[in-house]
Amino acid sequence: MSVKQKDASIPTLPLGAVISRWIGRNLIRIYMVFAFTYLFIPVAYTFAFSFNDSGKSNLIWKGFTFDNWTNPCGAPEVCTALGNSIKIGFVSTIFATILGTMIAFAIGRHAFKGRSASNLLIFLPMATPEIVLGASLLSLFLVFQINPGFWPTVIAHVVFCISFVVVTVKARIASLDPRLEQAAMDLYANEFQTFRRVTLPLVAPGIAAAALLAFSLSFDDFIITNFNSGTMTTFPKFVYVSAARGIPAQANVIGSAMFFLALALVIVGQVVSRKRKVS
């Protein structure tokens, strides 16, 4: 009896077994679907509500409109805050990228006394909680009677961006083939020519990536900015302040636009680096 049943079940497995076997085989894929859904829920939500015909408070879906996208300055305070954030991000990125790249070359290319101490000094700002960076810097500014505002914020942003620039550029320098520079020297290029014509172009993608990273860190920073910017609003500060009563849909437009812009930049970067590798 039992033998007969077993024979019958060999060609067609019971449905439960089929399902559990399928799940077992595709466990990782199923997990990935769940994980990516989780990761993208807030992005999708922000994007969807950028089309909400919401008026002042963007809490409930009221109807579809393109108005927020065609007129992103419809809520004027959003645009002021965005402009400030871009200005701060731009200036901080320039300073952080220059200072950080110089440090990266020193640490990545030279053996000198105090190299490991330098590495530690670079690591420290990344390991310091933002609140400590922000609060301690504000105290210092107040001791010297410097009022919070644009430049104090820029200085604060450069402090925490430098480390990320150093780490990114250093990684690029470490991946360079030293033989390329030796070849340039063998072909009678002097040190400066080698640097300008060989080393710098090879490190450039790393510097570009570091600058993008610095800009996005600066643009997105809230805690340190909140301490050092005084009455100046930035985009994150604006969102924080208006979170309680619901942020205007224009903020969603800007958030979504930033998302697509950053995504496009990353994809272009990937494509370019792949083409370089192929050719």
């Binding site: 993208f40 992005v43 020193a106 390991a127 609140i131 301690s136 450069v158 643009f219 909140n226």
Partner: protein
């Protein structure tokens, strides 16, 4: 001579900057931390002493917020580890030619503003969002239960917002594991679980440690999630700090 001085010249401007605006403020902070308030001075008048009891007082006064910060950050870090490990593992070993695209997709959500993401969670988990009504219909939560303004929402926001700090170091260290070591383990009759416990996990330990630190530090120092997703009952220590400095 020139060879020796080049690195120092390159370091000079950056380190001068970091010294002035990073080291000096921290020294200043440490110095003022042991000051004593003047007996009959105005508010904000302090005398330089070495009163280390200040640390004890600060902890006692804000015991609740300290504990909360620690516990929330710890739970969020553990959750991030649980979510990220399989994800990083799949990216490193199972993604094949889609590896780079998937890696970009893992980081992509974090291109939107941190604050906007947190506000989005507030609205998704809020009364008008789709989660609360559907959970109520399913009977998972009762009619009176809310998700926002709770410790649950704060921890879940922290987990989400600091996820890439966990996923990326984990991915970097799992990606370095030679797949042949896993094959060897299988050839020696270890089953999947044993291979994971004895080979994959130990080899990925540097990533686990780095990810845990990189997630825990910002999570413990965060007050944005607690402020937007929580209530006065979920206030964290950094919020106290922020108030005392800015008000």
């Amino acid at each position: 001579m020139k060879k020796i001085s080049t690195p120092y010249l390159l370091l000079l401007p950056g380190f001068a900057f970091l010294f002035t605006f990073f080291i000096l403020p921290i020294i200043n902070l440490a110095q003022t931390s042991t000051q004593t308030r003047l007996e009959n001075g105005d508010t904000g008048q302090y005398e330089q002493t070495l009163r280390f009891a200040n640390y004890f007082d600060a902890f006692i006064e804000n015991r609740e917020q300290f504990t909360r910060s620690f516990v929330y950050a710890l739970i969020a870090t553990l959750l991030a580890l649980l979510i990220s490990y399989p994800l990083a593992y799949a990216l490193a070993f199972k993604a094949g030619k889609y590896k780079n695209i998937l890696l970009v997709l893992v980081i992509a959500p974090f291109f939107t503003s941190f604050l906007l993401r947190t506000v989005a969670w507030k609205q998704i988990l809020g009364e008008e969002g789709f989660v609360v009504p559907s959970l109520r219909t399913l009977g998972v939560i009762s009619e009176s239960t809310t998700l926002t303004s709770t410790a649950f929402a704060v921890v879940m926001g922290m987990t989400y917002n600091f996820l890439p700090f966990m996923t990326l170091p984990l991915y970097a260290s799992i990606d370095r594991i030679d797949p042949r070591t896993l094959e060897a383990s299988g050839d020696l009759y270890a089953n999947g679980f044993t291979t994971f416990r004895k080979v994959t996990l130990p080899l990925s330990m540097p990533g686990v440690v780095a990810g845990t630190l990189l997630t825990f530090i910002p999570a413990a120092g965060d007050y944005v999630n607690a402020q937007i997703l929580g209530s006065p009952n979920t206030k964290m220590i950094t919020r106290q700090l922020q108030r005392s400095h800015l008000l």
